[in-house]
């Protein structure tokens, strides 16, 4: 029904301006220095008061009636370029924009900064360009996109120093994290203290908090779409940093000048090299580090065909002698082909693999075995963008994922433990979408679309059915290629923007999202050993419906941006483990789950200053997030762990003279909802804590101040050297990471609460260079 109606609207709207005498201006918008494509750069035709933006490959196309035009090309941080076109026939024009970092003051006065945030049909969306955030203080001096994201409204950190995040009350696994279109299953290093994204290799990151256009899908809470740099195709460039805990180096350069380029970027921590200094001999044989390697190459075959190859390899390695080893990591690979069918029809076709796995090896006492587990994807997708005219833009495409789940395997070399394997599971996730962005009038803009997704749970494999108590009652074997079960649904999406005047707008959106693969976490933060579960006959796809409404206003010639958004999100088929669930290597894992629902609503406020010596933002979120499961908390509604009533963050950066940049951020949020004991009792001489309700207590409020300073040592047109100092948790607040309850050491008749705080006052220094 809905589908038919939407298609009807599409066809009614398309013909409006097809038959006029039009021509097209199209091309790529690129950085003059590096040749990198610029994503979401603005194209504005002064005479018509209309425009467009470049897509995620820097391509723009605008079709307008034949006439003389003045076209302005602009992008934050770059000098605006204004060109005259006499449009008789279609024109292909690649635009090179020059970084404006040398004459910041001029730019502010001369040019109006774009007001895309007000005019675009994007809600709950933020772009982050790592370059702009180098001076935001972070733990251990590593600039980190995921941690900077957490300073924005509606996005909160999963735990102290953690790169995991919750978006609008959703769980960590409900965020789709893409690196050059490849799914990154575990975005954390070292239990979350670092993200896997090395800022040196990242061009742009876009966070969508739920009002996603139809091209995105597969997770119900958010999309974080990260694009790697292409590599400088003009000249060689070296970038790097030396820090206390890690160092990084990037090399980029042309393969063939202006035709192709490459980028190699690596990072490794070396905390383990300092272990001998700790003086504790027992730690000497420990291994503890991670590395990241980002590779990318691109080549233009012709004006209308470009090839991109990108890869990510990262791994954490921990160990102690030969007795214990634990390593985990992601591999992603993306091969993309951009093709222009015409100056109006752009396409991208990608083959993607992504692989996450971990291995634990234990060789101590009488045990000698290795445990492995993971998930692997093969993904094909094809996306099209049709730039019909200045008012209409169509996107459509299809994609397929082949998922291989490896729940776990134990390989034993003898001793107590037997070799053991839980059968792999297989699935095919398919989707197709169409969406239409249209300027209905000068004031009203709409982006609506429809996505259909479908999941096939495939053989081979044994399928169990269970009785009410969770005991298996029946086993059905399936052959390779058999469809065991399938599920699917329509995902309508719509966002409307109504301009109240040139600097303010009201936006509203609705989006439905399906999620077919699930991560049920048993711990308070993400761990490398969390297990992904497919949708089956028992595990239903998670479904979220989100409504949001926002008011956007820019002040003072767009020097200040503000927005207020309210949202309501309803989440169905949510999953939790039963109490005492047997999670690992359990072929009957589905009997260990319970299913329920959740919802979240809130208000998000953002005030931002983007230009001038003093920049930064203030973000505030007021929200409520609850869950309801028949089997948990006696069926009563309980607050989700991430239910944080108030969440505030203030980030400020100040340029002090030519060489210093000072920065600070302060974070405050309501303590997590936690389950604490209300009493105690004795069983067989042991004191056990007594619990009365789920998440009925609160941790003390979390707050902390980080400060940073960057000293520019030298700067020329081609090279730069700087030192970054930072202090994480400057006033040493002991934020509770976890609270334990145990007997008092001296008087075991009494029990006490013990707070464990992880980081208080962590200073760091990093030397950064580029030439």
């Amino acid at each position: 029904m809905i589908k038919n109606r939407l298609l009807l609207i599409v066809f009614l709207l398309i013909p409006i301006s097809v038959f006029s005498q039009n021509s097209t201006i199209s091309g790529y918008i690129i950085d003059k220095e590096s040749g990198e494509d610029l994503i979401s750069a603005n194209v504005y035709i002064l005479e018509l008061g209309t425009g467009t933006t470049s897509n995620e490959y820097g391509f723009y196309s605008i079709t307008v009636p034949k006439a003389k035009y003045t076209v302005r090309f602009s992008y934050t941080g770059y000098k605006t370029k204004t060109l005259e076109f006499n449009l008789v026939n279609s024109i292909e024009e690649d635009i090179e924009l020059e970084p404006s970092s040398y004459e910041i003051e001029e730019v502010v006065i001369e040019d109006k900064v774009d007001d895309q945030n007000v005019k675009s049909t994007e809600m709950g969306t933020t772009q982050i360009i790592p370059k702009e955030l180098q001076s935001v203080p972070v733990i251990l001096g590593e600039a980190d996109i995921l941690k900077t994201m957490q300073l924005l409204p509606g996005i909160s950190q999963a735990g102290e120093g953690n790169s995991g995040f919750f978006v609008r009350g959703g769980n960590i696994d409900q965020n789709l994290i893409l690196l050059d279109e490849a799914t990154v299953y575990n975005a954390s290093h070292l239990f979350g203290f670092f993200s896997v994204f090395n800022s040196d290799a990242i061009k742009n990151a876009k966070m969508i908090k739920g009002s996603m256009p139809a091209q995105y899908g597969g997770r119900i809470s958010s999309v974080l779409d990260i694009k790697m740099k292409e590599g400088n195709n003009r000249h060689w460039k070296f970038n790097g940093g030396i820090g206390l805990i890690s160092s990084r180096l990037s090399i980029e350069g042309p393969i063939v000048k202006d035709k192709g380029s490459f980028l190699i970027s690596g990072r490794r921590t070396y905390a383990d090299l300092f272990i001998p200094l700790a003086g504790d001999k027992t730690l000497n044989d420990s291994k503890l580090y991670f590395y990241d390697l980002n590779l990318k190459a691109n080549y233009s075959l012709s004006r209308s065909d470009k090839l991109f190859l990108s890869g990510y390899f990262g791994r954490d390695l921990l160990g102690y002698k030969d007795e214990f080893g634990f390593d985990w990591g992601n591999i992603t690979g993306t091969l993309r082909w951009n093709h222009l069918f015409s100056e109006k029809l752009f396409s991208n076709t990608s083959f993607i693999i992504s692989d996450y796995n971990y291995a634990v090896s234990i060789a101590s006492g009488d045990n000698d075995f290795t445990i492995t587990s993971g998930i692997k994807d093969f993904n094909f997708k094809s996306d099209f963008q049709y730039f019909l005219n200045s008012e209409n833009r169509l996107s459509f495409g299809l994609l397929g994922f082949y998922h291989i789940f490896l729940p776990g395997e134990i390989e034993s070399e003898g001793g107590n433990v037997n070799s053991f394997k839980v059968d792999n599971k297989y699935g095919l996730e398919l989707a197709a979408y169409i969406s239409h962005e249209v300027d209905i009038s000068q004031r009203l803009r709409l982006n609506y679309g429809l996505r259909y997704s479908h999941y096939l749970n495939l053989g081979p494999g044994n399928v169990f059915t269970y009785d009410a108590a969770g005991f298996p009652t029946n086993i059905t074997p399936y052959e390779s290629g058999d469809i065991i079960s399938n599920d699917g649904g329509l995902e309508p999406r719509i966002i409307g923007t109504y301009l109240l005047d040139e600097t303010s707008s009201v936006k509203a959106s609705y989006a439905r999202n399906y999620q077919y693969i699930h991560l049920v976490s048993s711990s308070t933060t993400t761990t490398p050993i969390d297990v992904w579960l497919p949708t089956t006959e028992i595990v239903k796809p998670e479904i979220a419906d989100q409504f949001s409404l926002g008011y956007f206003k820019n002040f003072n010639n767009n020097m200040y941006e503000t927005s207020i958004e309210v949202y309501y999100k309803d989440m169905g088929n949510q999953i939790e483990y039963k109490n005492g669930a047997d999670i690992y290597f359990n072929e009957l894992i589905e009997s260990q789950l319970v299913f329920g629902k959740g919802w979240s609503y809130g208000l998000e406020f953002l005030f931002r200053k983007n230009v001038g010596d003093f920049t930064g933002w203030l973000s505030y979120t007021l929200s409520k997030t609850e869950r309801k499961f028949n089997e948990i908390n006696n069926g009563n509604t309980f607050p989700a762990k991430q239910d944080r009533t108030h969440d505030v963050s203030i980030t400020a950066m100040y340029k002090l003279g030519k060489s210093w940049t000072l920065s600070a951020n302060w974070i405050y949020y309501t303590g997590d909802a936690v389950t604490l004991p209300s009493g105690k009792y004795s069983v067989d001489g042991n004191t056990l804590n007594l619990y009365t309700e789920r998440n009925g207590y609160r941790l003390p409020a979390y707050h902390r101040l980080d400060i940073g300073a960057t000293l520019l040592l030298s700067k020329s047109k081609t090279s730069e050297m700087s030192l970054t100092f930072s202090v994480y948790n400057a006033y040493g607040r002991r934020n509770a990471f976890v609270i334990m309850f145990r007997e008092n050491e001296d008087n075991p008749v009494y029990t006490e609460a013990v707070r464990i705080a992880l980081f208080s006052f962590v200073p760091s220094i990093t030397f950064n260079f580029s030439f």
């Binding site: 239990f191 761990t527 005492g580 042991n686 007594l690 334990m740 309850f741 013990v754 705080a757």
Partner: protein, 280 residues
Amino acid sequence: MKDKIFQLLILFSTLIPFLGCEDVIEIDLNSADPKIVIEGVVSNDGSPSQVRITRSTDFYEPGIYEKVSGAEVEIIDSEGKSAILTEVSDGLYETNSVLGEIGRTYFITVKTDGDVYDAESTIPPQITLDSLKLEVAPYPPGGEVEENKRYFLHFYFQDLPDNEDFCRFKILNNGKSLGGFRIYMDKYTNGNYIKSRLNLSAEENDIKIGDELTVELLSIDKAAYDYYFTANSVNASRTSGSGGPPSSIAPANPVTNWTNDALGLFSAHSISTQTIRVEE
């Protein structure tokens, strides 16, 4: 494995200066209505079948638990033999009329204050403890023995090949039970000759030369295993060995075999015992 990960986390945090700290804090915890706790034991070692009934108390109260007297406690086995237990001291009920036998199922009913609580438990085939061995070593390896003296208590037994086995090991020092619920299941080890090793801190467990360490291997049923497995993460006892933070995102009361929301466990089990003397 979670424990290992947490240890590594702590290890990691020790590598960075100025962080990782632990302190006692006062938290405003609600007071909870006292809940009934029933511990029932039927074993095959000839000791009387026993039920202990107490009530829970508030977290910050001293750990002295109210004993529940005057309850009516009845045990029936799968052969139809039944007995009413007598209260031998406050809150402690016993009988010698129904004793543990391997393969039998025991049904228990407790009536007190107008509430009725039921449970059942089966004594599984018995696993026999083969032998013990004691080794002194520093922990972690590589350090000085005297700094942190550890006893590695090795024990050996044959897992039953045709059975899904669950065990609990009770460790006693001079007859006094060490805290904690040390448990075993044979999901990954079915049919193997098991060489197990316990790492006991001399200081924490107050183990001295000349002491006698006893290992009781209890063959328990799955319900009892599940109980101890879930009880481990909420055990506040110092020497429980479960230590560390709660490994679960939301700790909860253990999964019990009692009906009507009673706390505690009814366990019918067999016992195999070995003792070793702590030598120089």
